[in-house]
Symmetry: C2
Subunit: 212 residues, 2 copies
């Protein structure tokens, strides 16, 4: 309990810091390879003429994802290497934020470590958390990994272009989500083909606008 | 350090227990939805006329995977619900084993919690560990999640039927694996179409035979 409260205290500090600078922030969580970075890329490419986007990426190793955000047009990307830690926490985010000039940013996306369990136990202080599910993972994940589905603000169902090739019962999936998180804002899309991405971009732009 | 050695001590006890009963065992690890249970199903269906197979499954919630093993023809399946723990450890396995009659089993498959990070830090006492990678996750996982790739005995690349639909550079993937775990025994297959599954079944049968 004590450990959690130290994390939450720092998360609140992060949030106050972001709000003071008028920066809206999202925490992207998902299992490995669900498409977090692909969604970051689509979001940057789709909004960079309206918003100044920065990315902080958490990974065990490499800067591959931060480099992809740079290549997609982020004004700044920061790589946190956790060295083995299976999730980001508020303190890691606090330590990374000085590498950003918040006055030059409208939207900060934090891409968490690929893990469908632990990241949801650590608030970072971002405005909303986004879970990226993907079709190839299977439709039973809300039932088998309920914690992360229960706690998020937005759900993106990625890789819908693969629906013809993977057994995926969308009704069963949505019933599982509804039981855990009724009325959860949900976007079904494909980062590969672009299908459904515009509705997601509109939602993000509206969120940033509303926070101003 | 102390915590680890308690786990390793119990892992050694588990192994001695399995060896005394002539039961060969495998620890299946992978990210969520990579196809661990699908591989369990294919292994049971492919070997049940030669071997008596049992399964112990670790999950946060539900008995969905143990039920699938039953339906596929396992002589026995046991479900461990970790209640939030993101990996199995040797003590959980030790506590579950009394539910099996080892004298009636040739092969025990332990399906770990879906997580590409923590499970590889906890030896269970099984004879070999199997990492199930999958094509939709992307080819960069060995570089980004090196710990689990470094520590396993066998690699299964599942969902090769999806290669035409997901950008996946197989050479880049295999170079990453080779750098971490040179000469790693690797099977490329599809649990959905059955392609490549026979080579895997032969390897499993040979392993069980060799241990006798
Ligand atoms: N078919 C298809 N493939 C996709 C889609 N989105 C992403 N991918 C592929 O999925 C793989 C993983 O995508 P990433 O964006 O790297 O996933 P991630 O969640 O950021 O992965 P980690 O950060 O390593 O956990 C890559 O090969 C992508 O090309 C999609 O909509 N459809
Ligand atoms: N296209 C395709 N889909 C597959 C293949 N193998 C498994 N799947 C699908 O992938 C999804 C997940 O498979 P599972 O076997 O449940 O994966 P898992 O690793 O056991 O998942 P968890 O235990 O929940 O972490 C399901 O929808 C399967 O039908 C394959 O070879 N090709
Ligand atoms: Mg990524
Ligand atoms: Mg499974």
């Amino acid at each position: 309990e004590k450990i959690m409260s130290a994390n939450d205290r720092v998360a609140a500090e992060n949030r106050a810091h972001l709000d003071a600078a008028c920066v809206y922030s999202l925490n992207f969580m998902a299992s490995p390879g669900a498409g977090k970075t692909s969604l970051v890329e689509r979001t940057i490419q789709g909004l960079q003429d309206r918003l100044r986007l920065a990315v902080i990426n958490g990974d065990i190793a490499t800067s591959l994802d931060a480099d992809r955000a740079d290549a997609a047009g982020a004004v700044k990307s920061v790589q946190i290497n956790t060295g083995g830690n299976c999730h980001l926490d508020a303190i890691m985010l606090q330590d990374a934020m000085p590498q950003l000039t918040l006055g030059e940013i409208d939207l900060l996306i934090v891409e968490n470590v690929g893990n469908l369990i632990c990241p949801s136990n650590f608030q970072l202080g971002t405005h909303k958390s986004v879970l990226v599910a993907s079709i190839p993972e299977g439709a039973d994940k809300p039932y088998k990994y309920p914690g992360i589905y229960r706690g998020v603000d937005v759900l993106v169902i990625n890789k819908i272009d693969l629906l013809p090739y993977v057994p995926f019962d969308m009704d069963y999936f949505r019933r599982g989500v509804e039981a855990l998180n009724p009325g959860l804002e949900t976007f079904a899309l494909s980062c590969k083909t672009g299908e459904g991405v515009n509705a997601w971009l509109d939602w993000v732009a509206n969120e940033v606008e509303a926070e101003r």
